[in-house]
């Protein structure tokens, strides 16, 4: 399936300046696996080397947090819009 991954401004430099990266994958995890091959620097900003989404990042499919769906196994319908969301909590470390 084709889907679009929408990036926050701070990550666009890791995707050649793009706001949206098209992927062809059946699941959210598959989309990130594709990014790991096509834009490895972008993907490692989102997940650590064990494939775990970083603590202060949320991934939404349309308007739903994938943690409330099926996580990485969440199916992507054709034309799905996936959003990478930095949480406001991430700025609280210091």
């Amino acid at each position: 399936m084709s889907a679009n991954v929408h990036l926050p401004a701070v990550l666009r430099a890791s995707a050649d300046g793009r706001r949206v990266v098209p992927v062809g994958a059946d699941t959210v995890g598959g989309a990130l696996n594709e990014l790991a091959l096509s834009c490895p620097q972008l993907e490692r900003r989102i997940r650590n080397e064990q494939g775990v989404v970083r603590r202060h990042i949320r991934i939404y499919l349309e308007d739903r947090d994938i943690d409330d769906l099926q996580g990485m196994a969440t199916p992507l319908p054709a034309g799905a819009q996936v959003h990478i969301i930095p949480m406001v909590s991430g700025g609280s470390a210091r």
Partner: protein, 365 residues
């Protein structure tokens, strides 16, 4: 034309300061690596133009190791993660605490100390790294505890004469050393006290909370260490340690640095205690020994001597190794001081920065 560079790692990015060879006036540049905590700074002086390293961790986007081949005017990182744990380890990198080039005879070798406790080795000049499995698989590793700053391998001391020998310091695991290029490791903590342990168990084989180890190339067997309570010296590359804290106002602190040209001269920045991480008498004082720890003297000229509440972290004291050597330290309240007279006097070169986590310096050309 010589250029002096001072790398300042802070909790919110890296700041470069530049000067000429006299190092009397410094110009600060805007913050780089914005909103990353920069703990691990390194300078590879084996190159014609030294390569700079900055281990930076974003709370959002994770850790990475950046390098600069234009003395900090721009920073790069590879597409793939330069430092990463193998999948089979189940571990994920949290932070890079230390970047240390290998010997002149190993021009591509660079080491990185990591959190969680691990040592990585690069053979391509610090672009890509591999886990040093010999240390990671050590049976003690699962018993190492995190220190207050995290479960970090924060100090790497290559033996200056033997590429197969290397010493690392771990919080809280203690000092470990290898003599076979990293294949096997042994603890080297005899004589170092773990004061928090019950009576009769205060000198364990490992588990001490060492904060920093420093040595001098001309005396590779001599090591000085600042511990979580206790300042020590070893004259046999860590086989035995003896206390050298007599003469200091307290035995707690984070940093320790041996003079680059005077092997018997070293510096510490004492703090009152772990439950009172503030300078004794609230005075900003570097202490110097000129006889490897038999005597200590406070260095105060140019430093605040009342109502002082900041501290110096383990990698926030450094030297540019030039001749004469420049010395620099940064504080958690965002100040950086420099000395061009072995610490006799200090001048403020930066203020109002985010808290300073690490500093490194070099005179180039």
């Amino acid at each position: 034309m010589s250029e002096s560079v001072l790398l300042i790692g802070t909790s919110k990015g890296a700041v470069m300061a530049r000067s000429d060879s006299a190092r009397e006036r410094w110009e600060l540049e805007p913050l780089q690596l914005m909103m990353s905590s920069v703990y691990g700074l390194g300078i590879d002086r084996r190159r014609e133009t030294p390569r700079l390293f900055a281990g930076a961790t974003s709370e959002h986007w994770g850790p990475s190791l950046f390098h600069s081949d234009d003395l900090g005017r721009s920073w790069s990182e590879p597409e793939a993660a330069p430092v990463a744990f193998p999948a089979a380890s189940g571990a994920a990198l949290i932070r890079i605490w230390q970047v240390e080039p290998g010997l002149e005879s190993q021009p591509g070798v660079v080491y990185a100390g990591a959190e969680p406790h691990a040592l990585f080795r690069s053979q391509d000049g610090g672009i890509t790294f591999e886990l040093v499995e010999g240390l990671y698989n050590h049976p003690h590793r699962t018993q190492w505890q995190p220190g207050g700053g995290g479960a970090c391998l924060h100090t790497i001391v290559p033996h200056p004469a033997d590429p197969d020998r290397l010493l690392v310091a771990i919080s809280s695991g203690g000092v470990y050393r290898t003599s076979d290029g990293g294949a096997s490791w042994e603890p080297a903590n005899r004589g170092i006290q773990a004061h928090w342990m019950p009576e009769g168990q205060r000198f364990p084989e490992f588990g001490q909370c060492v904060h920093k180890v420093s040595t001098h190339p001309s005396r590779p067997e001599r090591l000085l260490a600042q511990n979580h309570f206790g300042v020590y010296r070893s004259d046999d590359y860590g086989t035995n340690w003896e206390s050298i804290e007599h003469g200091l106002p307290s035995n707690f602190g984070f940093t320790l640095l041996v003079h680059p040209h005077q092997p018997d001269t070293a510096y510490v920045f004492p703090l009152t205690a772990d439950y009172e991480r503030l300078p004794p008498e609230r005075r900003c004082r570097v202490y110097r020994t000129r006889d490897s720890g038999q005597n200590w003297e406070p260095l105060t000229q140019g430093l605040p001597q009342s109502d002082y509440h900041s501290i110096v972290l383990r990698d926030a004291l450094t030297t540019d190794r030039a001749d004469p050597a420049g010395f620099y330290f940064g504080t958690r309240d965002g100040e950086v001081y420099a000395s061009q007279d072995d610490g006799d006097s200090w001048q403020l070169v930066a203020s109002h920065l985010p808290d300073v986590l690490a500093v490194r310096a070099a005179v180039v050309g």
